[in-house]
Symmetry: C2
Subunit: 136 residues, 2 copies
């Protein structure tokens, strides 16, 4: 597996396992997180980590089932589905446990020398998520 793809797997593992100690090592002050479908953008380790900590608080299960991964140099593309089971508060379902599988594309641009994220861009199918939530 190309090194860039190895970095991507380690990064996604840290992200979905909420291993913020490891995750932190992937960010610099210039790292950019951008959910292009939600139009949400954060810059720098501190803000990105604060966002993920908030977004994934209390989550029971979180993983990214990758259907296909490829890279060109330091740019890695991951196509798959984010599975999330957890408290429904942030999803308009207070008091319930929600279970969703959201199709998405994550692209990661690495600084290969420093093993840092330059740019993490998500494209998420929020319509499918919303359909799934409607019946929960």
């Amino acid at each position: 597996m190309p090194v860039a793809q190895q970095y991507a797997m380690q990064y996604i593992h840290a992200l979905t396992h909420q291993d913020y100690k490891i995750l932190r090592t992937f960010y610099s002050r210039d790292s950019l997180f951008y959910d292009k479908t939600a139009n949400v953008k954060y810059k720098g380790a501190r803000h990105i980590l604060a966002f993920f900590t908030r977004a994934h608080s209390g989550v029971l299960e979180y993983r990214f089932d990758v259907d296909h991964m490829f890279n060109n140099g330091s740019l890695v593309v991951l196509i798959g589905s984010y599975r999330l089971r957890g408290p429904g508060e942030q999803y308009g379902k207070p008091g319930k446990v929600i279970d969703i599988a959201v199709p998405g594309v994550t692209t990661l641009k690495f600084d290969m020398d420093k093993k840092r994220i330059v740019e993490h861009i998500d494209l998420m199918d929020y319509q499918t998520m919303s359909d799934q939530l409607a019946s929960q």
Copy 2:
């Protein structure tokens, strides 16, 4: 189907059927085409059309098999595989007919009022393409 996705299908149809008369109507002087995996960028109707005309010259079959499509407002994400059968000249296979199916993600950002492409970004699995070409 949301209007943005309808536009996307019409645009992809024109692109893959090499219907440059229709395709032209989707571009303005500010439209941007960016193949992020090849680091190829063109701005404006004239340059984008010239690129596609050149890239698809002589092609026998060209289509985008879409596995999954979703949108958030004017941003449409298409995940699938570009199938191309045609002369091998541009692929290092002169005198041969090549046949490739390249996994890819295309995102299209539309100006909905004018039915124009603001930004067309491709992410293509060129490693898979290269593997397929190796045996042809």
